[in-house]
Symmetry: C2
Subunit: 452 residues, 2 copies
Amino acid sequence: MDKVQWFKILTPEIKEMISNRDLRELRNFLVKPHPADIASLLRELDPDERVLVFRLLGKDTAVDVFALLEPDEQEELLKYFTERRVKELLMEMDPDDRTQLLDELPAEMVERFLRLLPPEDREEANLLLNYPPNSAGRLMTTEYVGLRLDMSVSEALQRIRETGPDRETIYTCYVVNSTGHLHGVTTLKDIILAPAEKKIDEITNEMPFSLKTSDDQEVAAKIIQKYDLLAAPVVDSQGILVGIITVDDVLDVVQEEATEDFHKMAAIQTPDENYFRGDFFTLLGKRVIWLVVLIFAATLSGKVLKSYSLLLSSVITLTYFIPMLTGTGGNIGSQSSTLVIRALATGEISMKQWLAVLRREVLMGVTLGCILGVVAFMVEMILLQDVLIGVTVGAALAVIAIVGNTVGTVTPMLFKLLKLDPAFVSSPLIATIVDVTSLIIYFSIAGIILSL
Amino acid sequence: MDKVQWFKILTPEIKEMISNRDLRELRNFLVKPHPADIASLLRELDPDERVLVFRLLGKDTAVDVFALLEPDEQEELLKYFTERRVKELLMEMDPDDRTQLLDELPAEMVERFLRLLPPEDREEANLLLNYPPNSAGRLMTTEYVGLRLDMSVSEALQRIRETGPDRETIYTCYVVNSTGHLHGVTTLKDIILAPAEKKIDEITNEMPFSLKTSDDQEVAAKIIQKYDLLAAPVVDSQGILVGIITVDDVLDVVQEEATEDFHKMAAIQTPDENYFRGDFFTLLGKRVIWLVVLIFAATLSGKVLKSYSLLLSSVITLTYFIPMLTGTGGNIGSQSSTLVIRALATGEISMKQWLAVLRREVLMGVTLGCILGVVAFMVEMILLQDVLIGVTVGAALAVIAIVGNTVGTVTPMLFKLLKLDPAFVSSPLIATIVDVTSLIIYFSIAGIILSL
């Protein structure tokens, strides 16, 4: 059984307890598992069962489990709850999780829920909701431990003991001066290991970077990754500390951004939903747009074939190799574009290195072309035993490999240069571009060789 | 300027200091930046400059910077160092980073370096090197804080203060019983917030999972992500605690695994190197294998075309639509395969749900087929104004969409079922399968409609 999904094996047992109305037993049963396992378990149940099980959870567990659900699952559950319960849950949630939930809810629900919150929580929620989507401001929580420069280590520990219980992390502490400007950062490790009378000032490190509320969440992720941080501070335009982003949220961002790139590269217009929760027609729309665009682009291939129809009808055997040649060209292009797109995304290559990348990939295209040209010649000889057509097919594939590899390399870099996301250079897009050029190369070479 | 790569702007200044031999100034200059920035900076320099700058670093900074370099960069630097310096660096490195380095070095270098280490470090390095590649055992560090069940909170704090300085994290502490078996986990937060005389037993939580040294690193990553952990304990086959895996290593694993999947899905035989550091011919080999396999597979398309050569030569206009039909079929297949592969990788869908996935994707294929069939008919009417061929092309694309979408859905699930990695179902593989079926569909429909 899968270690990560192990809890699902208990589903039938729980369903039985529900149908037998063994609610007391079920309640006791639910005390033990980790909230993350209860959340996975809830996903396995029908809506009615889900509400029932959720109601049986202890108050603290309920809050933890609720925070681990996706916003649309939370919305679903909230519909069944009394105002008092909703208020309780919303107040206990971390501000960053609450923002994520409110962000997904319909406007009238948001207004109703915001009215349930006490004024200071409402103000905070409004503030966080005002940052742009996918920004550091949206991702951050306002529940950090702030220390003052002139505190002693023992005063700092005292403050951590007082405020710690509701803070998302107490391991990284942020040191501000008297005006609230971020001065630097210290860790609970340094505090614990320092003598009680030492000043916080002496164990504070300057930040090597500053994250603004308006920065993209991807920048926040890269910074946390680069400096191996547990949390990164976020400041407003005046440099005042307003919140922190923790590493667990960044893990989700890295995962999401990779999924987004996977989808873009398969020519799907960025679905941002979980596989099953995404709406069928929304996803249909996101897939069909690119497909239709590419069909229209592919008519160019039709036009090329039409213009060579005389050659084609006199040597019909030339058509046999069209799928292999265009296919291989597209495959080579999608290999090189994937290598370049991913290396750009992870920062392994930067645009400054474009010449080195291009040189490497042209050389790679030439080498691939030589090898594959020979292979294609052999394949033709097996299939038709016609030397002239064999040479045509081999030479064409050699040229196609060079062109395909270069197109796959240049197109994502061009997108990056135009400040578009290189991940939009999908394999289908490259394949369509390479198809047309492959046909022109093939028939030009065929015209020369066969008329000799 | 890019926030993550900002430090690169200082490169020219540093290069100037080196060429002017302002070494004292350079040494002072290097005191301030974060080790991660110095590591990025070193990458911008020539090898000679790199060694020079590294020698100017303070001892602690040098160790931190060294740990942040990639194994091959470390190897490069080590060549220039005296045995004393190498020994110093190796001994100060965290055991998990040291394993990663030793893992990449040639065998004779590993032996030489291991001899430099004191016996206990050598034994530990040998132990870690014996775990399989990409396993939890390889990724873990042995430097964790272990507490005993019967300690009081103040004794635990005392122990943390004593052992803390060399531990990779002190925020999660592992509680073992008298035989060294892992009993549970507690956090520095709980310890700090508890009264001094409380027993550790009372603030220890059981682990909801157990990671073994032989588990894949991906399982470790998923568990840390699921339970929002800063570190996860790893036990041996007897349940004895042997090490921990920290969240910063997991962030790198998530990133690497995504890159690996990107490459597999573009039919590149898993290059595990950074873009530029990968050897040209190794990468060539990894790319050419799949391309050759797919060329041979594509000869099937040639055979299909050959068997329909009579139909083709009598209606040559049918060839015009071959690239569009096979291309669109491939695009649809790579959309659905990407959706399924990624959802399987992130755990959004499990194999138990195969029927629901298949149902959804067949429905999607039918809908896409209806829409795209009409589009294809219109495209033909623009290009040729031949109603019969228009109907042929439209009907063919409708069927191709359904088949392509289904092939893209079923193939990765089949791979998963056969315990192969679904990410090997690359867009090129799908495209090649769909090409052959598309041609058969197209000519069968053409044969029926045009002979009417």
